[in-house]
């Protein structure tokens, strides 16, 4: 596995996928400078959202607060996940499209090693990029708002970032499962986007009365990463803390299923 990981790392550094990922993140950063205060998929009463992504809400306040600045740092997660899905689908499925995965299998490399090596690379890059992404916004928002966070506030922000990052990793596990099932970049990206956006739509319509929601729809929301992001990014950790461990644990199931499928599936 070490050899294959080494090769995947080399391939990552020479591929367009990583460049595209970095470019996408920089583009989001750049666009945030153009657009001022905005609410990206949110709902609630008052200045601060109850759920959703809110950027630069401190611009409407006399004094910026930790919550407004922190939410602004995390708010662009609403765009980050899309770039991440594109990276995951491209990096994994490219080898199927150009046929190089055939060589790896033909030379006797275990398919599970191939799958897990790619998974490790993708998850590692995703979490590192996400932390880099949030750190960049932390610097930007600190400069724009003029609010200097205390050490405890920084630690709080790091914790929220880490939880968001775990949800991103869980999302990637699902995307990887789709990649094994479908082996087509466009279809995987399409299905992932539809799944995540639909989760956001259902939650936005029903967040205030989740207990009365039809059970199937309720569980659809609870298994959707948007449910967690929209609460974490609006500083409402309490609402999701009971469900989060189950969600993270459950995300290992598609990972294991992907491993079983790749071992049996014919490679075309």
């Amino acid at each position: 596995m070490r050899n294959y990981l080494n090769a995947e790392l080399y391939r990552l550094l020479h591929s367009k996928s990583l460049f595209g990922f970095i470019f996408g993140c920089v583009l989001i950063l750049f666009l945030s400078l153009i657009f001022g205060e905005m609410t990206i998929m949110g709902s609630g009463e008052g200045m601060l959202l109850d759920i959703g992504f809110q950027a630069k809400s401190y611009l409407s306040l006399a004094e910026p607060t930790f919550e407004t600045v922190a939410q602004s740092c995390l708010g662009y997660t609403a765009f980050f996940w899309l770039v991440n899905v594109l990276f995951t689908a491209t990096f994994f499925n490219k080898e199927y499209e150009i046929g190089t995965i055939k060589l790896s299998v033909a030379y006797g490399i275990d398919r599970r090693i191939i799958y897990f090596s790619k998974t490790v690379i993708i998850l590692s890059v995703s979490i590192l990029m996400y932390f880099g992404f949030i750190f960049s916004f932390f610097v930007l928002e600190t400069i724009q708002s003029g609010y200097l966070m205390s050490l405890s506030e920084i630690i709080q922000l790091i914790q929220w970032t880490a939880i968001n990052g775990l949800v991103i990793l869980a999302m990637n596990c699902l995307v990887l499962f789709l990649c094994v099932l479908v082996s087509n970049m466009s279809i995987v990206t399409g299905i992932s986007c539809i799944y995540i956006f639909s989760g956001a739509c259902v939650y936005l319509m029903s967040w205030a009365s989740m207990e009365t929601l039809f059970p199937l729809l309720r569980y659809y929301v609870y298994t959707n990463p948007m449910f967690y992001w929209m609460n974490i990014c609006s500083s409402n950790i309490v609402r999701i803390i009971g469900y989060l461990p189950w969600y993270l644990l459950g995300s290992t199931l598609p990972l294991i299923a992907g491993c079983i499928i790749i071992n049996q599936k014919e490679i075309k």
Partner: protein, 309 residues
């Protein structure tokens, strides 16, 4: 007796009741250049896909270097292959493509990359990305990748496709050298029978998922040997004159008194002049014999006739 590198026993591969491979029994021995020939859809690529582990057989046994079942995967590292065309990273250079493969397989030493590139004449490719390569260059790079790690068994699925005549000649010479000097066993599938004719030491003829015949080059040559077919008025005198005047005894007299002469194939006029000088009437003088293509068509049509019956 030569070691058996690859062997199948009643290998069958089916997709929804359709037998793509039908009880194929095939043997490739060490040191051979095995030419796998067949029409489109004969099952050549499917057989290669089973060999390389890209697909699993529906039934039957596959042995590679004497191993079968779960132990076969470890033996695949002793192979080099080109499957269904060159598989390359288009955004990388030739050297980078080789480097990825070298790292994947844990082959030590970067010097081996320069060596295989020189072997296929791609050492001048430089920083050119593969997406800008011609088809011939891609085929050569694919071959370079197959040669990484000095494999004992090369499996090449239609490697000649897209190559120009110079490229085909270079590839043929390279494969012959690899086989002769390094003892690499080669399994090569191709439609271009004239090329295989100059390369292979044995042949497997496939059609509609069945391996119709396995035959080595020497046996094939005997069956296809070219000769001058003579029908004359005096067979005994002709035979004597061939020995005395034409200084050859490389001929056979058939039961129907016709003669098969294996010499003077390019100079039938000398034979006809000799017969004329000696007042022997020549009824028929034709050049007969088959090449691989006509032999293959005969084998295939024999199979088709069985299907019609």
């Amino acid at each position: 007796m030569n070691e058996i590198i690859f062997q199948t026993e009643n290998i069958t591969k089916s997709y929804k009741q359709v037998h793509v491979l039908d009880h194929v029994n095939m043997t490739v021995k060490r040191g051979e250049i095995y030419g796998l020939i067949g029409e489109n859809g004969a099952g050549k690529t499917t057989l290669i896909r089973l060999l390389t582990g890209l697909a699993k057989p529906t039934s039957g046994t596959l042995r590679l270097f004497g191993c079968q079942g779960k132990t076969i995967a470890a033996q695949r590292s002793r192979m080099g292959c080109i499957i269904e065309g060159p598989s390359l990273y288009p955004e990388m250079t030739a050297m980078e493509n080789l480097e990825v493969q070298r790292r994947q397989r844990g082959i030590p030493g970067k010097e081996s990359l320069d060596h295989v590139l020189a072997l296929v004449n791609l050492n001048q490719a430089g920083k050119k990305k593969v997406k800008n390569f011609s088809l011939g260059m891609r085929q050569r790079l694919a071959l370079a990748i197959a040669l990484l790690g000095t494999p004992e068994f090369l499996v090449l699925d239609e490697p000649i496709n897209g190559l120009d005549p110079v490229g085909i000649l270079e590839l043929r010479n390279l494969l012959k050298n690899l086989n002769k000097e390094r003892g690499i066993t080669i399994l090569i599938s191709s439609h271009i029978l004239s090329e295989l004719n100059q390369l292979a030491t044995c042949y497997g003829i496939m059609s509609h998922g069945k391996l119709l015949q396995e035959i080595d080059a020497q046996e094939l040559e005997k069956r296809c040997q070219k000769h001058l077919f003579l029908k004359v008025s005096d067979t005994a005198k002709t035979a004597s004159l061939l020995e005395v005047e034409m200084h050859t005894n490389n001929f056979r007299v058939l039961p129907d008194h016709s003669i098969c002469l294996y010499d003077y194939l390019e100079k039938p006029d000398l034979i006809s002049a000799m017969l004329g000088r000696n007042d022997i009437t020549l009824y028929q003088l034709t050049c007969k014999g088959e090449d691989l293509e006509s032999y293959y068509m005969k084998v295939i049509s024999g199979e088709k006739q069985c299907e019609i019956i």
